[in-house]
Amino acid sequence: MRVSEKIIEGLLWLSAVITVLVTIGIIWVLLSESIGFFRQVSIVEFLTEKEWTPLFANKKFGIMPLVAGTLLTTLIAIAVALPLGLTIAIYLNEYAHARMRQIVKPLLEVLATIPTVVYGFFALTVVTPFLQQIIPGMAGFNALSAGIVMGIMIIPMISSLSEDAISSVPRSLREAAYGMGSTRLQTSFGVMVPAASSGIIVSVILAISRAVGETMIVAIAAGQQPRLTMNPLVPIETITTYIVQVSMGDVPQGSLEYKTIFAAGITLFIFTFALNNLSFWIKKKYQEKYD
């Protein structure tokens, strides 16, 4: 009996350790391939060169255009999702009836369960044609409609997590504010939102991280042309799209092209890793505050 207990515990332990192996695996895979890349391309060039044309005769290995594309779509997405999501969170928490909140919150969360390839379809076939009527001359592949649709997708991340954060602010603070004659608006912006700020920040960081790593929407709707621009109306390329683009060509292992997707991958990983850790760290501090 004791032996079998030990064996079972060992198996469970192994399963838990697999998660560590996955992390190690990710880092190892990204590193080992991109080290090969950085043997051929200096990090300085990688970070400072303004063009990304690793597959062409005139090879340039500047990651900036891909990073710019990623930041641009993320920026647009957050510009859409942050005001909407935060307003929704405040509205649901402070103004809406409990019943309404119970219905609307899960309905909004449906937005987050729709597969991203579906959003891509939507961006390309509905949003882009619509925007082209308003903005003539906008290219069919562009950062704007991909960003907007991505923003819609991440609304529930911000609205739900922020609403949770606001509702976990002790009731007594809200009562204090009302007791002083505050309106609902003054209560939420003057007291509740500041008190829930760390939770709200966590939700926004997670949303940013999600947008940075989003792939299908941008791969379908934002274009495949690395360019160092903040113009949302022309085709651009994000880090994720580049990886998809090269993957579709089935690049043979060991070639420089193959290595470039890992170099791009590690760049992406570093961004999201930093964001995730930041949010984890803030969350830990914040939990301590209210327990």
Partner: protein
């Protein structure tokens, strides 16, 4: 064999050119009725990727919009593979713009070179840099990715050196993406296989190309079934191929599939928008293939 309902089983793995893909896809689809239990998969990773897998023996057949190059041939040899090149149709590599583009009617090879050569990267960015009377608007370029035979062929024919071009354009191995890009972007210019233009005529405008050589047709000429067939669409006309390797033809389903391919290539390539070879050429290919299968033809493989 048109008797239908063969009881062959097994699988045929195909990859490679996106230009040839529509023909092979059509053949594979029709072949289902012929041999329902043979599993034919067709990937689209570009001629270059196709040859790489092919020469490593990972796939049975590769689609190619350019001939195999020396390096690829050598790899195949090292892996103990012989192969047979089979032309299946002609293509006219088509230069296209948005249908609302009312300024470009024709373009010269020299101008194309000015746009696409490596030196243009980051420099030629506006339409009026090509011809002053064209608008002062950013030009958006769309073209096949570097793994594609079309890209190789185009750079060879226009820039003069295979695989040599600027890199700041929207590049995709999937020609559909290029069609989508050009058809939704008023300031776009792109190129790809004729079939993709024929399929999407309403959304695209083909641009006539002038090679400055009146011996093969005067002035600028638009790609079409006729101009490719009669050779006047130059220099962007080219043959399309499939390659079969020697280990694969030891399996009857591969042999059967290739025979079926050659029997139906004429009809199907026309259907999807390419120019079929003359009938006798298909016959000739069938014979060559027979020899190749029986082991005698290996020598006829390209050296």
């Amino acid at each position: 064999g048109s008797e239908g309902g063969s009881d062959l089983t097994g699988s045929v793995q195909i990859d490679g050119s996106s230009t040839v893909y529509p023909i092979t896809e059509a053949v594979a689809e029709e072949y289902r009725a012929e041999a329902p239990d043979v599993r034919v998969t067709v990937g689209v990773s570009g001629s270059g990727s196709g040859f790489k897998k092919f020469s490593r023996g990972e796939i049975d057949i590769t689609n190619a919009s350019r001939p195999i190059n020396d390096e690829e041939a050598k790899t195949a040899e090292q892996n103990g593979l012989a192969y047979l090149e089979i032309p299946v149709a002609y293509d006219g590599l088509t230069v296209v713009v948005h249908p609302e583009n009312d300024w470009v009617k024709e373009i010269t090879v020299a101008e194309l070179k000015k746009i696409w050569e490596p030196a243009a990267q980051g420099k030629i960015k506006r339409w009026n840099q090509i011809r002053p009377e064209w608008p002062d608007q950013e030009i958006h370029l769309y073209g096949p990715g570097v793994e594609s035979g079309t890209y190789d062929y185009f750079t060879e024919a226009i820039v003069g050196k295979s695989h040599s071009s600027r890199g700041d354009f929207t590049a995709s191995e999937d020609d559909n993406v290029l069609v989508q890009g050009v058809s939704t972007d008023k300031y776009a210019l792109g190129f790809f296989g004729l079939a993709y233009y024929e399929e999407n005529q309403g959304k695209l405008k083909a641009v006539a190309v002038d090679d400055g050589d009146d011996s093969n047709g005067k002035g600028a000429i638009v790609a079409s079934l006729e101009t490719v067939k009669d050779g006047s669409y130059a220099p962007l006309s080219r043959p399309l191929f499939i390659y079969v390797q020697s280990k694969a033809v030891e399996r009857p389903e591969v042999v059967d599939f290739v025979n079926f391919y050659l029997e139906n290539a004429a009809v199907l390539s026309e259907e999807v928008g390419y120019i079929p070879l003359p009938d006798e050429l298909y016959k000739e290919q069938q014979q060559k293939f027979e020899q190749f299968v029986s082991g005698k033809g290996a020598a006829t493989a390209q050296q």
